[in-house]
Symmetry: C2
Subunit: 285 residues, 2 copies
């Protein structure tokens, strides 16, 4: 509880025989449902042998000995023998494999392989490569650096400087395999009251990002302190002008002030109807 | 089963009231345990009202009517009322909230808030900003473009052209908040048999990536077909020379041939002992 001084926080371990991305993602979602409680979390990937698992159980038990707070383990172990060792720790074990695989086996009339599926990690090489080429494309088309391949782009993100264009495009490329260009709206564009000429022919692909002027000023301050660029007046002017441009030319747009990069990217895909590849080349244990 | 012609594949729905990243991540991990079965998956994020949930249940039931294959729903709904609607569908529901929150409530002596936790999505603004500045840093330091801030970098990834340096660095920045530079090993460096001068002072931060020459040739062929650059002989030479350099100068390195970007990044962090931020600024429902 936040009003108690020196409350020891509860330990949470995210474990996996591979990257632990699934354990972390699931774990953070569950723990976020308890905002009043403080957690100390540690991620331990590549627990891929019985020996490592045994050492880990000893560590977890030792680290929490003498406290009255049972630790929590979020574990996704493909290997059953390793998983069994982990289940011997004194922690509360949250294990989606143990919980969900049996009922999946029943309706699928199949046994789960209980393997980390090495051969399956890049099961679809062409998907893997399309992800890499989406990253290449998005880097090349960052910040309007080049505009020549706009006919190949899936989307062109517009916005003023520091409105979140670059991280959004990188996420779209890296996670969803989308070719995402971005183009900055400059003061010159605002004054012309026209869409920049190079993007005019791609109206169906345009998507705007906007943000709260105060937040924008704060972010710009990090980059260029005490500048006109970072001043609240300038930020107000630019945000207003960009939003007017989006409205005038029917460019769909999103206010990203309180959103994470993940949410912005997901929302952009949702609003534009783009096809999101849900990482079919890999499963992250 | 792969040997049966025209087997209809089983439908899987990843649902959430937010991004559906947790549902997708968990779902792919579970389904990867059944490599012999074909699934058709669709992700439906932002199911954030009872009306949307009801329409979705109708859709799921309709799409699978008349087949003898019960669909699968992987659902992470913070809102209990919306979740209850989803549970009325005819699908097998895999719901980690319903399964795991009760036991967490018991050991934490607290009620889960059952909210998507809007205020929690960017609960830690400074973490969010460090993530953004890690992205800025990594972009600026891509492919040796600049080397002047190497004293601030967390890691410098080395490797020959197309060995996976850029995606690895972007992932390290975007997901783990690490300032990750990368520097290409060129033929000139190989011939000199020295570490490139600009990186010599940062030996503790260097990490090499290497890959199978055949795979490298295949990837390079995409970029520059039928070139000396993409020839198998050239790739063999470069890979061997780079690996010799890593060995000679005690640069830890990793063969990434069969690894996904996520695995490479996780392994790099593991091997270097870097502090991995596990996305504490956000929980992805």
């Amino acid at each position: 509880m936040t009003d108690t001084v020196n409350t020891p926080s509860r330990r949470v371990y995210f474990l996996s025989n591979r990257t632990a991305i699934t354990a972390e993602t699931l774990g953070h979602s569950l723990l976020a449902q308890f905002p009043g409680i403080e957690f100390t979390s540690v991620t331990i990937p590549f627990v891929d042998s019985i020996e490592k698992a045994m050492r880990l159980v000893d560590r977890i038990n030792a680290e929490n000995e003498g406290t009255d707070m049972q630790p929590i383990v979020i574990s996704t172990m493909a290997d059953e023998a390793v998983s069994l060792i982990i289940h011997q720790s004194k922690a509360l074990i949250i294990d989606p494999f143990v919980r969900f695989l049996p009922e999946l086996e029943t309706i699928l009339h199949a046994h789960s392989i209980h393997e980390s599926g090495r051969s399956h990690r890049i099961s679809n090489q062409s998907h893997y490569e399309s992800r890499i080429s989406a990253i290449d494309f998005s880097l090349l088309h960052d910040d309007g650096m080049t505009t020549k391949l706009y006919d190949q782009t899936d989307i062109i993100i517009l916005g003023v400087s520091r409105s979140g264009k670059t991280p959004t495009c990188l996420y779209l490329a890296l996670q969803f395999g989308l070719k995402a260009a971005n183009y900055p709206i400059t003061e010159e564009d605002m004054e012309s009251e026209q869409l920049p000429e190079v993007i005019r022919g791609f109206k169906g692909k345009l998507f705007g990002l906007t943000t709260n002027p105060k937040r924008l000023a704060h972010i710009r301050e990090e980059r260029r302190a005490n500048s006109r660029y970072a001043s609240i007046d300038q930020c107000r002017y630019e945000v207003k002008a960009a939003e007017q441009m989006f409205e005038q030319f029917n460019v769909p747009y999103l206010n990203t002030t309180t959103m994470s990069i993940e949410e912005i990217a997901t929302k952009v895909v949702e609003l534009t109807g783009l096809h999101r590849i849900s990482k079919p080349d890999i499963s992250h244990l």
